[in-house]
């Protein structure tokens, strides 16, 4: 092994003959002051960076809930055709915050899910589950058709063809004081099993439900993945 080029210095300041050194001291005053100033600078930078980042990232963790919206009386909705209804999905921004949903009365011969107080009316979103364009209910062919990339869904909202990865989302419905109300949105997989609401483009079959988890902004609905 080659000999060290410089004589190794002792780690004790006393051995190195530094003025004012005392027994057992290893950190020189210069090193201590440098560290203090660097630390203070980082503390001050963190003082404005962390709140600013939190300010920008805050909405990612904030739960947003919309209440129930009254959409009509029970007689408004037949059980063999959809009725378009406009609801508010994002309050405070006028027309840009509104969205169309398609509603009909539950038909036990078609809808096989067990009857609860929240599915006496079927409410299907007009947001395509591919990338969020507006699907159109075409009565003649009994299909929902998306104009953007050609996804087609049957009368249950289940994908028939096109690039959509899952069926159309649905909304909870209920009857209150003789009025039909629409509540939170939820997503369904191909078997129409309910999940917490997902964004368009996110599959829910197989591994999809784990690759695209539910987010803190939309509350995990009770009993949903």
């Amino acid at each position: 092994m080659a000999p060290a080029r410089r004589p190794t210095k002792s780690k004790y300041t006393l051995d190195r003959g530094i003025p004012g050194a005392f027994e057992g001291e290893t950190v020189t005053r210069r090193r201590f002051m440098t560290g203090t100033v660097h630390g203070a600078g980082m503390l001050m930078a963190a003082g404005f960076t962390i709140p600013a980042l939190g300010f920008a990232l805050g909405p990612v963790f904030k739960n947003v809930t919309l209440g129930w919206q009254t959409v009509g009386v029970p007689d408004d909705f037949p059980d063999n055709n959809y009725v378009p209804i406009v609801i508010v999905t994002s309050p405070g921004i006028g027309e840009a915050g509104k969205s169309t949903i398609y509603m009909r009365k539950r038909d036990p011969s078609v809808d096989k899910q067990p009857l609860t107080q929240y599915n006496r009316w079927v409410a299907i979103t007009s947001r395509c589950s591919h990338l969020g364009c507006s699907v159109l209910w075409v009565e003649a062919s009994e299909r929902f058709i998306c104009p953007c990339h050609g996804s087609v869904f049957d009368a249950e909202g289940v994908r028939v063809s096109g690039p959509a990865p899952r069926p159309l989302d649905r909304f909870y419905t209920r009857l209150l004081n003789g009025l039909v109300q629409v509540g939170p949105r939820y997503s369904v997989n191909t078997e129409l099993r309910a999940f917490s609401p997902r964004d368009p483009g996110e599959p829910l079959d197989g591994l999809g439900q784990y690759l695209y988890p539910s987010r803190p902004t939309v509350r995990k609905l009770p009993g949903h993945v």
């Binding site: 990612v60 405070g92 990338l131 364009c133 483009g201 902004t217």
Partner: protein, 282 residues
Amino acid sequence: MSPKPRAPKRRGFKLPLPVPPVPPNLLPPPPPPGTQRGRPHTPLEHAAEAGKSAVDWIDERTSLSGAARWAMFRKVPKGTNWFYTLGSATMFAFLSQAVTGVFLAMYYRPDASGGAYESIRYISTSVFLGNFVRGMHRWGATVMVVLVFLHMARTFVFGAYKYPRELNWVIGVVLLILTMVMGFTGYLLPFDERSYWATVVGVNINGTGPIIGPYLSDFLRGGPEFNATTLSRFYAIHMLILPGAIAALIGAHLYLVMKLGTSAPPWLKAKSDEPELIEEAA
């Protein structure tokens, strides 16, 4: 028949004789200030003198002239051609976007409940030259993207990304991505049907990234749905965060170009490192 070689002109030729050492008090007195060759300065010469002394004043305190010389008077390889101007063209497209964007911001209102669309309509129909400046910004965005890709193609085809310029390629790719984000965030701002739905689709494409995608969508929208803060978020990213980042990275990009120099076009033969053999004269 070739023309006869002409003798070099001798007019004004002076033999450079050494100046004999003369004691200072025997030298002719210097011209009084404000004169030149014995006559008073013309106003134009006064202005030139004022400019010179102002530049000197700054240079004496900053030494900027050295940096300017280093930056501007560089050696360029043989074969440098018009393709080498694509980078500057891209930078001028960015500068044009910056200037027109600043002035558009004087009229634009990021208000999702209708104010944004109204302010754009006002710019396009009522403001003096409004449609022109907005058109420059709008079409300039496309021009900038096209120029970025042409510049990138030039760099790739000429092999100008190779050692020692790899870091400059990396910075360029980051600039490309930032330009794309610029286009994406700017597309929402007119807030008509097209920009709204394009943003809905674009954010949902972001969301298709596994695991992180849904959270990224929430970050972009500032919530689970397109909402009142989405437009101002996009506006802040578009006009504050991205221009600063792009300007800083262009600075780094240009510094590396000046530091490393430009590369020669690939069709020029490289000079051999081997010393040439010269036959010794007998």
